[in-house]
Symmetry: D2
């Protein structure tokens, strides 16, 4: 696909939506063609044609032409009129379940940021309790979905009509563990433990007792222990049994960023350089992963970038490793990865507009 490409974003109002808008609006290959922003518009805003984007996200205002953009009332006709070819959905799971089949039927290519189409195993999807689970349409749609992690599925993404953009936690853990698992190094009998910590933007924009500053600040809490929705993505992508994986999310008192500390055992003793080589080979050609050969990454250098930062420590025996994986949950964990997928899908340089 070359020349002018028209995108649309449904669900720009959240935190990931803000980042997605920012990235698409400054994307070098999309210059001159801002996305169509569409969604639910309240009665009172219909008269002015929708809600100005800079009212929703004041940080997007300024000397950049954004002043005229609006979130307009969604309709398939609107997208057709505007010639939309690629649709980003930053919508709740159920909404993505309902809309994606329609979008595909209308010939749109879809990058869905929700959890609607990420899981191929029905057992793993059970936690979502999708209403259309088991329907023919859902099965057919799922069959078209490609898990949108370019480091694993670059070629499939290039040809995909539907990309299921990965979860933020899942991205953090999969990128850290998959290279070792793929190389057959892991002693899975001893299990993989992922202790993950996320900034508060991961909890969404709705004011709740847990997103209240007084709860989140100066605090740390664990949640979803043994039950978090992203677990299924880990199992499927890493290729590990549920009984061999523990994933524990925590709420960190910072705005954004995910830090995963991951504990693995190797089948046999390895040297540091052997482990490094595995990562380096796996990520050769992956511009959005920064593998740290000598140090452990930190959140501070990953936030506000689309990079996943990965490093590790080996114990003296060479049998146990602690892997650290950092990323920005709104970028590599959501909107940035979505744009990375767009780039791959359209045959553009993978890090275009992201590095």
């Amino acid at each position: 696909m070359t020349g002018r490409v028209q995108t649309a974003v449904v669900g720009v109002t959240g935190y990931a939506g803000a980042e997605l808008a920012r990235l698409l609006l400054r994307h070098p290959r999309l210059h001159g063609a801002p996305p169509v922003f569409a969604g639910r518009v309240e009665e009172k805003d219909l008269a002015r044609g929708g809600v100005p984007l800079i009212e929703i996200h004041p940080q997007l205002a300024g000397d950049n032409g954004n002043g005229n953009l609006k979130q307009e009332p969604f309709s398939w006709e609107l997208l057709a009129e505007r010639g939309v070819e690629v649709l980003f959905l930053a919508t709740p799971h159920e909404q993505s379940r309902a809309w994606v089949p329609q979008a595909l039927a209308r010939g749109l290519r879809v990058i869905d940021l929700s959890g609607a189409w990420r899981l191929t195993d029905a057992a793993n999807r059970a936690i979502y309790a999708f209403e259309d689970e088991g329907s023919n349409q859902a099965a057919a749609t799922q069959a078209q979905a490609v898990y949108g992690m370019p480091e694993l599925y670059r070629e499939k993404i290039a040809g995909a009509r539907l990309i299921a953009n990965p979860g933020c936690y899942a991205t953090s853990v999969i990128l850290a563990v998959k290279p070792l698992a793929a190389a057959g190094l892991l002693d899975l009998d001893h299990g993989v433990i992922a202790d993950a910590k996320s900034g508060v933007s991961g909890a969404g924009k709705a004011p709740t007792p847990k997103t209240h500053f007084m709860y989140a600040a100066d605090n740390l809490s664990a949640y979803g222990v043994f039950t978090h929705r992203h677990t299924g993505e880990l199992l499927e992508q890493i290729g590990i049994d549920a009984g061999d994986m523990v994933f524990t999310p925590h709420l960190l008192p910072i705005p954004r960023g995910i830090f995963s500390t991951i504990y693995v055992r190797f089948k046999q003793p390895l040297t540091r350089s052997a482990v490094s080589r595995v990562y380096e080979e796996f990520f050769a050609g992956s511009p959005m992963v920064r593998f740290h050969d000598k140090t452990l990454p930190q959140i501070q250098y990953a936030v506000h970038t689309n990079y996943a930062d990965i490093g590790f420590q080996l114990d003296a025996s060479g049998r146990r490793a602690v892997i650290v994986s950092c990323l920005d949950n709104l970028l590599k964990g959501a909107a940035g990865q979505a744009v990375q997928n767009l780039n791959v899908m359209l045959g553009w340089p993978e890090s275009e507009g992201l590095a």
Copy 2:
């Protein structure tokens, strides 16, 4: 009043309520007589006699006998049965307007933490739009109210039946300015400017867009400019015209603490030691104010204490001063001051249970 004193707290569920419970439960003179906690109890909790206090405020659990305490369904009969003599209201303004007259009629002494009875001038009360404004009962009740700032009204508080516990911002500013105003030093024509900053607990426990971590953290915002409810308290207590006072509250990205930076001009040049003497004399006998003769206070040393910390800088001309006033909005700005008032009211040492 000597011997055993029974207190009750209505509205223990908020942040100030938690601090009030903590202070009363460990108060040396109340030992053996925990407060009665009363309020609205949901149907499902009636069977167990109310909501355990340590479910509401987990930090109060432990080796301290609190495990059996409950917030019970409020009724005047309950208070009577338990022999309650002093009632703390940490309730919304309107509720305090309605309940205080009843409490007084039943012979209770009341310490009301709301804004219901703080203002003597009807013009200043207009901002609250009380439903009973202008009624005889309201006027009679107001006439009994004493503004509960012991540093200003120690004697009246000792004999009061109704104490209107001051606002947190108001306490911070009044303690800083009143000594200079009372000494007739201020050039009010140049006005008094109070630039005040409060931690997020001041915004209350309800989850709202403004108390969301993502709004409050890494941010600063001003609100209620020229319109904040505490302005009336400043005018009445300092004795200044509305046109000569500007009060600007800001939301600070910290859990608790108020920092007020106050700008005044003097009628004539003053020396540093002259200004210090005014403060020292005013606060002689006031155990809960720490006047800083040499340095400016900071929030970090005032939080988790009931002290108000006050200091100032004089410019080279001796005509302009910047005053800094710090306190913990939940303690000296609310629950701590309420207990200080209790102490004064009952003839106990003013800082008992607080220092």
Copy 3:
């Protein structure tokens, strides 16, 4: 020991020192006898007899008699003159190694907050590289040391002359794991993994690149992976081989508090109530541990208390558990536990001055 007890604190200048001073100054059984504060005093402060305590820790000022207290120049003669019986050392490791033998020789009872005397196994002490390692005096002193965790060694502490107050991380992990290990439930072949996160006060008061706000805030970092000094305490107290334990500390962007997420496997499937019963029995009679039967603890309710909060989640198989342990690193992790040890040592109620 009854009647008046005179304490002394060397090393009040740090964060744990501040909390220790606060606790001792308000301890009901020490009333009327503030500790002697002693340490290195600069030339310029000798003339005024030392440094006023409230200059070192401004939060201790107020209506409480602290205004006259000073950190005086340390000498053994000073301690003797003042009749000191119990000496708290909040000093660097090497200083405690040198001073403790002298203190014991002079008949003082010592509560040492450093890591100097916590480890009985020379291999575990190697990481400290103590200069006197291997000397007869060191061996004799070590033989007298009791690991100061009342929940494990209440009786020994009561009779001890030297208490090695545990490390903050170690306290957090040991209290969570020891009950299960002591009951023989753990499948150690699968190892114990402790992913621990500490507030910045744990890194000490010295300004360093890692304690700079710009490094610590909005960040998370791991450090000391496979090499942290507290590992030895875990191995010795839990009774586990180095090869079966991984302990990873992280620097949390909050002032205080430790949160440990601990991963264990059981030899055989257990029910939730069976695990709860193990904890409840182990901590019966331990007033400073709050076992949470139904929820996972959070840092926010543990800070500013001397409680250790412990809870867990069991997976569906009953074979794997995630344990969460929270405490305030300056209180139960340092100064609070030191006072708890004082209470036990002197036969006072264990939570006196702490609950």
Copy 4:
């Protein structure tokens, strides 16, 4: 100046240096010509030709060609060899005093981020106590300096050889007050009060007691009251007497951002729209100022942008206004403004690489 322009940065190691590097490396007009980074290089790093930029600022690493960049040992010869035309100095004041005359003599155009050349009035410079104060060379250099605020001096900047890039606080206050002062609206007899709050990055990268997380977090403190170095810039640029201006800086517990609350009186009553019009006219053609007609700005939307956000509230009398001004201290308050000046100096669109 068209075609390839070679820049150099001395002092890339600090926080402003990091942002300056980031902006210059991605500047569309500088593509293909990264800046020369020069400075003091330690002996041990000479062998490898300097210190890799991505070791100094890890966030700059990635798929962007930065991996080969180094901070090289500074020499004028190095700059000459590389054909440097524009030199950015992010150096201490004294170093800029010494180096700027040499740079000008060598034909370089200089953008100096320090305070060395911002002040034209010797009395205002006294606070810096420059060693070369009063020399002919200093006077001649000062005469060439243009205060680098494009909103005020766009034309002079275009032709300047030496740009004195403004202070962060000064930018925040001047942009808010200058439009009103220039329009002759201010009643200066009542004075201008600027209560300014800055994130911790403003205090620099050196670890000090005041930049320690435990001091800066959960705290607020005022400093430099009546004595801050930026006061001179305010006086000169606003055109106000020292006796009529109070400027109070505070240290905010956030990484970056400045929020100034400014109190002014008008000579006569004004309407809201009249005041708005003054701002709108003043900032017409100024792409990096966002004037908020209806709301007050907040820090959160200004950080990570080069915009200054300005808004105000008028009181009922129309005589008093509270102005709020927000910016990112490292961008519009330092590196971003420096690049803005580069753009103006070279005749490029003013917001190129910044919007």
